[in-house]
Amino acid sequence: MQGWADGMDIYLLEAVINGILLGGVLALLALGLNLIFGVIDVVWIAYADLVMCGMYVIFWLYADLGWPLPLACLAAIVGVAALGVLVHLLIIAPILGSAPINQLLATGGLLFFLQNFATLLFGTDFRNIGVRLPIIELGDIYVSSARLLAFAMALVGAVALWLFLRRTYIGTAIRAIAQDRDIVGLMGVDQRHVYLVTSAIGGALAGLAACLLALQYDVHPFVGNTFGPLIFMICVLGGLGDMIGGFVAAFIISQIISIGGYYASTELSYVLAFTLFIVLMFVRPRGILVR
């Protein structure tokens, strides 16, 4: 067939498109992690494992209990948002003033707790919610509609977050607290309240990502390990706390992985991505967008 993509390497184009689609979900997670870091000044090492929890919520409610999928997804978003608030209240709030290494260890401990708790509840089997969305044909190019949906929803989530941060009082307070946390009290802002709202939003973003990933991947207790390090790399590359930088970095990394996977292999593409990461850490240690 004489397609519009004639003369181009169709498979390369497919890889590029898949890279963009993959970047959407990674960008969403990077936004959540950067938000938490920028506002609360804590790194949630267990962030990817909150996503894992959300995927299990969907699996349990939809595949086990037979809830409608949209309702199960909504429950996952609300549930992980609540989990985010719990993480803050039980783990972060008591050690807010302590050394960063203690905070890393505490949220790192949460990672092992969540992974083993999930193993206890569900075992180590790979589970799939069993939803098969059709493959879309665009000329000669095949695109998974699950990925397309995930990309679209990730963008919707990012835009919703942006509007929330720009248009509401509490959103303005969230942006302000990241710039000068000692002085926001003088504006009538209760720091503890802002931290709770931020933790809930960070959790909700992880819950949304869980919905989008559950459509494409199996869930198992260690699924967070497959993309957790990637999200951290993206956040550091974009400059920790820099939400726009993280957003851009997500698409750079996803392209490297996708195109690298096409020319070589997926494993090598990860090696490439982390190599670039190390090089950029020397060249632009404070983030790619820092002037």
Binding site: Y169, T172, R175, A176, Q179, G185, L186, M187
Partner: protein, 237 residues
Amino acid sequence: MSALLALDAVSAGYGSFRALFDVSLEVAQGQAVGVIGPNGAGKTTLMRVISGLLPLRGGAMTLDGRAVGGLAAHRMVEQGIAHVPENRRLFPRLTVEDNLRIGAFIPQARKHFAGQLARVYELFPRLKERRDQAAGTLSGGEQQMCAIGRALMSRPKILLMDEPSAGLAPLVVAQVFELVRRIRAEGLTVLIVEQNVQQVLDVVDRAYLLEVGSIRLAGSAAELKGNDFIRKAYMGL
């Protein structure tokens, strides 16, 4: 006339260091009161105690007859105290208008946001011109306008100003005191802390001299201007 803000034998400090000893002062409704004194006298500590950034260790504080001592900073704003901190402390990457918006964070101020914003822009037209600019890009004088405007957005009963002239060029300092006069003309009650003794005594009704954490002298601006000790030690006359 009973005092709008009254401090009775207030003490405060950091760790084992005591910065304020039994400080008592009063600010009447509609008055402008100055607190002068050398570096390290406890002027900024006094402001931080009144606005709730630093806890009260002893003594009492009333606003409009209600005991407010020991409330957290965000509760003090709800009570009607607005604090323009030392060095302005704007949110540099937020726009001017977002800085003003966050000044109106408390529920009773949000209701009046549009009207109060118009009032602040009327008071400081320059801020309206720069409303979409990041606050960090403003000049020193404009930043002071923005910091005062941000405090006014909460519709306070009393405005605390901590060293509004600090770090500004002499010409800009004169402009800042002009701003203080403009705010006074609005009928707002002001408590202002300054090292710039000569100029602050020109804009306030009464003043206190704070030295090593204690009130050493108090009186009307005219009395203090005529006081030999103040003239020698603080005005270089």
